[in-house]
Symmetry: C2
Subunit: 366 residues, 2 copies
């Protein structure tokens, strides 16, 4: 059973994708379909058309996101998700092969992960666990535009699962949970004066040294949760102050970023920042909760074993946190070095794409 094509589908024939072939070649084919955030219609049409040819999947289009699922009555369900969008192209499309390596926009983040998941969608008609695939739009931009936000609001039933696996780049590892993040502006105040009579003023930039001393001296926790080590960090990521070259400044603002382990709630993390700078003005700019790794859940524990027995902490913030908030244990597992994400030099090993696809196949085929 499949629903009618969405009215937003392109009127021309979708690009044909060979899902059942080599997932490394499929990665290159996906890179060759430009899909910067907000311009995913062509790639979504291609993915939708390819998935609709598979009789074991039920497919639904939501905007430029594509959902597909098995309904085999298995005792557990695994959700496999990848975003279809990329950051802006930097003269790195089409894909370029060099020996075992594919270079190009999205090779790491995350068309190699998409290729791995699409290949498994096509080649596992009888998995041991029921599968839900989510290929979504606009992950690289605002939370409100993220395809998962719309799916969660209008089609929440599609996100129910015992474990979510996101194909974000982990370089072969299982990365579980994620840190949270707080951004805040901490402001020191003083009193203006002409710099020729500086003793009549009170230099706010000089006062800001106290903020920097506390940051530099802050004792960063290292926390073990479910065998994953989370290392916190509290840093100045920006500073500004000054009125003119001959004026003692009356204000200096330090922008602080706190990356916190997921054993703290977002509120607790904000309190850490507020308490540390209780004698300054603190304005919280942005907060995102972390995600506990949740590896004690049976489906998650089994996946870690299948993937080699070790999981590690994810340091960036990913949609794993969204699933954790929904009560679904979630991990990242995808090809490519995460430190290459968003760089012009993005590339991925074709061998790693094939090897990780094989690992995930063993787990899902069970």
């Amino acid at each position: 059973m499949s629903t009618a094509p969405a009215p937003s589908a392109s009127p021309i024939d979708p690009i044909a994708l060979d899902l059942a072939g080599d997932p490394a070649e499929l990665t290159a084919a996906l890179v060759d379909i430009p899909s910067v955030s907000g311009s995913e219609v062509v790639i979504a049409d291609a993915v939708e058309a390819a998935l609709r040819r598979l009789p074991h999947l039920r497919v639904q289009r939501v905007g430029q996101s594509v959902l597909a699922r098995t309904d085999l009555g298995r005792p557990s369900r695994i959700l496999l998700a990848g975003h279809l969008d990329t950051v802006p192209i930097a003269d790195n499309v089409p894909a370029r092969r060099d020996g075992d390596v594919v270079h190009g926009c999205g090779t790491t983040d995350m068309k190699s992960g998409d290729a791995m998941l699409l290949h498994l969608a096509a080649t596992l008609p009888e998995p041991a666990r029921d599968l839900t695939f989510v290929f979504y739009e606009c992950e690289e931009v605002d939370y409100d535009r993220n395809g998962l936000t719309r799916i969660q609001a209008d089609h929440a039933e599609w996100l129910a699962a015992d474990l979510a696996i996101l194909g974000e780049p982990t370089n072969g590892n299982v990365e579980a949970g994620c840190q949270g993040t707080v951004s805040a502006a901490v402001t020191a105040r003083g009193r203006r004066a002409h710099s020729a009579r500086s003793w009549l003023g009170d230099n706010a930039i000089h006062r800001a040294r106290v903020i920097l001393e506390r940051l530099a001296g802050w004792d960063a926790r290292i926390v073990d949760i479910d065998g994953c080590e989370y290392r916190e960090g509290l840093n100045a990521v920006g500073i500004s102050g000054g009125v003119a070259g001959n004026v003692i400044p009356d204000e200096c603002t330090v922008r602080v970023n706190f990356r916190f382990a997921p054993d703290r709630s977002a509120d607790q993390a904000v309190a850490v920042v507020r308490d540390l700078f209780a004698d300054f003005d603190v304005s919280v700019l942005d907060v995102a909760a972390g995600a506990l790794p949740g590896l004690h859940a049976p489906a998650a524990a089994e996946f870690v074993v299948a993937a080699g027995g070790r999981a590690q902490a994810k340091y960036g913030w990913t949609d794993v946190a969204r699933f954790a908030a929904l009560g679904v244990p979630a991990v990242n597992f995808g090809p490519g070095d995460p430190s290459l994400a968003h760089t012009r030099e993005e590339h991925v090993s074709m061998t790693q794409i094939r090897d990780m696809t094989a690992v995930l196949r063993r787990y899902l085929a069970g």
Copy 2:
């Protein structure tokens, strides 16, 4: 003897100024001729026409500056200077009288000083000391446009004197010499990293705390020169750093301003900054030498006595430093509170204008 009018003079009749009347009323008349830097032609024409009517003065026009002098063969010569330009008008022209106070653009800086000097030019045909008057353009803008720069280059003989008295606002006091100033950028460097993995980077903003600690802990000298107390100051006047909200920054720059006593040369002052921050990158942005008060020179010492016996240090930088560099002792002596300069609220006491004019008259009449 007088030279022919300069070709740049306005073709219409100049505004008539009554130099011999009340210098306080003359202040208001000068305020009513707008003369923002670069637009001094009308006021220069009026000043030139009024001075040319005085047979005891030789007059020369240089651009929008007006020079005048006695040549009586006296044993000493006093140069009296005032700039004709103002900062931009801030809804404070024409002048407004309120009891003893005149409000308006330039009342403090420095049309009251100009009025004092113009009144003395007109009413001291037989001074005990030869007099040189310099009413000049563009003091409030770049050094290169300052009328004194052109006079110094093309008519240096006009600047020779035993003492220069600038009518810049001193609120009734004699202010001698001036501080020098050094502006420099002091940069801390580090290594970028994602803020989620901050331990892989080296936070340049955190490092900049060392710069701020040294500034905050700096022991400011207080120096007595010729009975004037100069108080130094070394301050951060600006700070900037940061790449993005999720990046450990690799650079943080503190803009430092050093106001130094005139017993240090400009080179020595630069060395103080370079030595204090020897372990950082230091880039000198701007240097202006100070000016020693020079009050041991006979003409200067006599003026201090005539003005009440006390001189104090000037904290801002003024053209006094230019005369000091030429070997001419120089002081500031003019009506108005210097802290009102460049404010919308500029105003001056009419009594103070008359009293200071009388003090200066006694000294020049000798």
